[in-house]
């Protein structure tokens, strides 16, 4: 059975890019374009891992991560922050908010899937 991953990302192209790469590698990919939908889907589908963009409309990635961590049923689900910020602070903030790791944008198609698999 294919492992299911949830991507929360508001940028259509980036979402498509990640979906494409992960699906090519044999994952089933769910996606949400805002934090609230993402949390609902996470609780409903209980994915293997969640790829979370930090820059999201309304509710940002830090808030989404913190919210997801409140739900015990998602305790074993790793949250991988995807940040386009090259700033140190953002990575640390993401980890502090509950993310288990991070992948930096721009993603490299050659290494992206491998980086995701490290957290599974």
């Amino acid at each position: 059975m294919k492992e299911t991953l949830l991507i929360i990302e508001d940028n259509e192209q980036n979402l498509y890019l990640m979906c494409f790469l992960l699906e090519k590698s044999g994952f089933a990919v769910l996606s949400a374009t805002n934090g609230r939908d993402g949390i609902k889907m996470a609780l409903h589908h209980k994915p293997r891992a969640i790829l979370l963009d930090i820059q999201l409309p309304e509710m940002d990635g830090y808030a989404v991560a913190a919210e997801l961590k409140k739900h015990g049923e998602l305790a074993g689900v790793p949250i991988i922050a995807v940040t386009s910020y090259a700033m140190m602070g953002d990575r640390e903030k993401a980890l502090a908010a509950g993310a288990n790791g991070y992948i930096e944008k721009p993603i490299d198609p050659e290494t992206f899937v491998g980086e995701v698999e490290k957290y599974l």
Partner: protein, 475 residues
Amino acid sequence: MDRLAKGEIDLMPDVAYTADREKIYSFHKVPVLSSWSQVYARKGGGIKSILDLGGKRIAVLESSVQQEAFVRLADGFGLHTTIVSAPDFRTTFEMVARDEADAAIANNFFGLMNAKKFGLEDTAVVFFPSTLFFAAPKRASKGLLLTIDSHLLDLKKDPQSVYYGSLKRWTSEEVRFKFPAWLQILGLVVGVVLLMSLAASFVLKHQVNARTLELRQINQEMEHRIVERTAELAAAMEKAQSADRIKSAFLATMSHELRTPLNSIIGFTGIMLQGLAGSLNEEQHKQMAMVQSSARHLLTLISDVLDISKIEAGQLALSVTSFALRPSVEKMVNLISPLAEKKGLELKLDIADDVKTVTTDQRRLEQVILNLLNNAIKFTEKGQVRISCRTEDDHCLLSVADTGIGMHPKEIDHIFQPFHQIDSGLTRKYEGTGLGLSISKKLLEMMKGTIHVESQWGQGSIFTIRFPKNTGGLP
């Protein structure tokens, strides 16, 4: 006078000259004094003019020239007077004082000196002007009189002489000194000059006062303006700083926004080049590779702009960790080696054995090293790039030496300034933002390190960075 005529007296002073006397006595030429006769009467006696003398007793010097002259004068006015004789002027005054006479006739010198003593005052009756001389007997020698003349002449020339002194004593009258003409002119000139300088000093003082006031006003105005201008400057400064912050924030946001679409460009070109979306023919592959290369370059530019704006906005914080420096340097050299290989350049790496663990911002240090390596390869067409690393006390030294184009001394001054490029203009040979070295310098400063360059035009450059093994600030 008789004794003089007889020759018993050789010389007699104060003799009034008359034509009759000239026949009996000898006179000299220069007059001693000019004199006249005057009528003196008791104070408040009511005798003012000659007409008041009618029927009065007049004391006169016995058989004197005054008596003759007065009698003629009185006769001329048709006045009848009683003449009372006295042996000398003093007696005439005493007689008036004792009321033995109503008026006395004396010469003006005597009157001037003695009238007050006897309670007399002078009247307006003045007559018989005469000049007084020394008189000598007719048969006396002329030498004496000539000597008197010459002495008198001398005495009269000098205002300070005994002559004037005596005159002053007798008359209590201030003698008007006769200043020599040159002295008068000089005095006048000096006076005028003094007056003028006094006036000038007044004018000057006035002008100085006015100017001082003016200056004070100007001063106050200046102070006021300075205060105003300072406030304006502070406001402008605040505005500029705020504009600077806005600029930096704008650049940071803008860079971020630019990176998002770049993500997908780089991502999808990667997918296509990998053949994940189907195979490409040779030409399609070549062109996709160009898109990817340009996109990566654009990403570097954006990252640099983001870095410098964050540094300038003070938003960049170091992330200090402890790590082994050797593998870190090796990693950067490996990363750059394909570029060197492509240009046929030799890469030499020499890391001293004592280079161990350092505590600083690994990512930023690597960024600096990569920048130096990139520059070295970019500006070198043949030869080698040599990287050496060693320690010195509690600092690490890393230098990158190339055999490239080098720099002119005046160029070296500018290379650490933001947006400096080795050659500007549209036909630039070397691509870049011109931010690399400026960022490296600022990053090193944050790590309490320095960057130093030695270069020779056409020979190559050596960039050396020096940074503490422990930057500090490790949590």
